[in-house]
Amino acid sequence: MSEEHEHIVSYKLFALIWGALLILTGVTVWVAQYNLGALNIWVALGIATLKSGLVVAFFMHMKYEQPVFKICLLAALAILAIFIGFTFLDVLYR
């Protein structure tokens, strides 16, 4: 049976998120034309992270889930950050 906290997201909100994702894709293509040196990769990653946030929060309903889902997501992202961070501690300061 469905649980009471289950939230039905409206078509309109989904369409707005989709529009935002398209605009952000346009921005990332536009910015990539300019040579900003090392900043290019950080701008690209920043926009990609923002887009992922929209997909996870709305398309994947994370915004409407119980706290346990959010805690697990944070834990997984923390593990990924440690994975990346420790690799670079080795690569950069070897």
Partner: protein, 201 residues
Amino acid sequence: MSEHIHKDYTGAKLGMWFFLFTEVLLFGGLFILYAVYLQRYPQEFISAGSQLDVRFGGGNTLVLLTSSLFVAISITALRRGQKTLCQGLLAGTIISAAIFMINKFFEWSAKIDHGIYPGSPHMYEIAPGESIFFSIYYITTGLHGLHVIIGALIIAWTMLKIKNGSVNAEDWVVLENAGLYWHLVDLIWIFIFPLYYLILH
């Protein structure tokens, strides 16, 4: 006597999320490879990356974002009892997956025609950093493409379950979890696109 069937939606969805976390770490490993070699061969990555066609990458970005919208809306449609609309949106998602793979076919074919494929003689002639870029490109986009195919099969299977009524407005967690898988495929591409196709164009 009707038996009460226990449905644990929180458990089912949490289990799916745990699986998705392992997928994130799997692709995370490939992105680490990319990051480490980008740091070691920045110029070679730029010259190799500029050989990828941004129209294929950009086009496939639009296809995946739109298919993600279809899947997201299909859940709302099913829960509002609009079964036909839900089925149509899921069919649209499978068509999107096919368009994505056809694009990929033409993209890879063009690269292979230019002698750029793992183990080709050309790969030994170009700078080591460039051949590493293309090797990671093939592994990452290849594994992602496999996920697109699997995602489309899962959605097709879910469509059958909706058709026979075992997934319906009151019992939709199978569609929800299939959707979560599809959104993950979209998420991975959101990072692949700028890192591989837009690196200093």
